[in-house]
């Protein structure tokens, strides 16, 4: 599991590669906290290369969502793969974490 990020004009993109499970979850939180601390509270987590997420991974996304909102921003997700989509739908979290086709579109409307 790897995370990298890139700060763009109006948002920061965090790329998640590999399984988002209990091993990866704390790392994602670390990276997003670092991004927020650096002044970017509008964050897109790009999940295009994440084909598995468990409840720990979901927990990390929620934690990151709270962190960005506390800083006055928001967290959105993009490139959601089928298994991740299933977990989001089962837990009804798709109503809270909005999925966009691509990172560019995530903050495209505002």
């Amino acid at each position: 599991m790897q995370f990298s990020y890139e700060v763009k004009d109006s948002y920061a993109e965090v790329k998640s590669v590999g399984r988002l499970n209990m091993v990866a979850a704390p790392k994602l939180r670390e990276v997003v906290n670092e991004v927020v601390a650096g002044g970017s509270s509008r964050v897109v987590v790009n999940l295009a290369e994440t084909d598995f997420m468990d409840s720990s991974g979901l927990g990390a996304l929620i934690g990151c969502l709270k962190a960005t909102r506390q800083a006055g921003g928001d967290l959105r997700i993009s490139g959601v793969q089928p298994q991740v989509k299933m977990v989001l739908e089962l837990t009804n979290m798709d109503r809270v974490l909005t999925a966009y086709p691509s990172a560019e579109e995530a903050f495209g409307d505002d």
Binding site: S55, S56, G59, I62, M86, V87, N92, M93, R95, V96
Partner: protein
Amino acid sequence: MVSSSPVRHAVVVEDDADIRGLLVLVLEQLDFVVTEAPDGLSGVEAVRNTNAELVTLDVNLPDIDGMEVCRRLREFSDAYILMLTARADEIDRLNGLDIGADDYINKPFSPKELQARIRALFRRARTSAAAADDTGQTDELARAAVVQQSLLPRETVRLEGYDVAGAFRPTRSVGGDFYDWYQTRNGMHLTFADAMGKGMGAALIAATVRAVMRSVADTPAIDAAFGSASTTIASDLDQSGSFATMFHARLDAPSGKLSYIDAGHGLALHIPAEGAAQRLVSAGPPVGILDGQHWAAAELQLEPGDSLVIVSDGVLDAHASLEDFIRNVEKAARSEGTSDGVCAALLELAPAATAEDDVTAVVVHRKPDIGR
């Protein structure tokens, strides 16, 4: 392991004479020689004088409080300290203070539960003595496992015309799965929850969820009960930055009417005697995500021959798609004779060798009408 002394001493520090008497009885049944102390200072002295191996300690005492007693004891004693609190939400706070207690139990407690906890404490001692290179982390995990295990219901549900069973397999890292049930006048209440996270944090959240859900057992309407419980739970979850998926149901056994609320769990299935399995749709996100959330109650009719099956996400994670998952759960539910057998088959869907999470299953089966 060589026992240092055949006589084991225990001290009960408790100001309420009735509870003190009960605790003494409970400990004597476990063959402890018990000394009573009605306040904190005499408690510390009693532990010093008897070299006790076990202390039960009330949090609220007339002189110094239980936390202070605990700190003083830790200066000279490595006795097991079991703290008794009157409030479930105190456990988190106490644990956060790291005052050196070994376990916590809520009042009112059942004598059986208390004895089980004490046995677990001493069993753990043997285990860690066997593994001399034990690190602090595994010790913490062992404690978390004890907490998690203690949340499962000890009583079996015996309802005429029903076969109810549950099964739980923890991971080494200890997750936040648990289920709880109890019989009511007309049937049963059931709670199935998964607190996000691992280790002691998740186990303690699960403990809080269990206690809070039990505290609303007498609220007649399920949505009012769940609404008030979820508000309490959410405020605790907010402090710890966590959340919990929950499924809560109430069964009226004679009619087969099941009222339920699903908060982000989404893994409860209705397996009718005839016809396709249906997943019960979740009424909203998990508890602890959004403020002011409301979850609507729904109803399900359990006909003779039908089953309600609830599993944790550990089972889902072992499947590539939701369709595969539902197909396998349905197959398991229809394959075995008893609900215990079905639970075992459901756990098998997430093989222990590869499962990263706890795996939990509960089955409520209404037996078919025979010879009508």
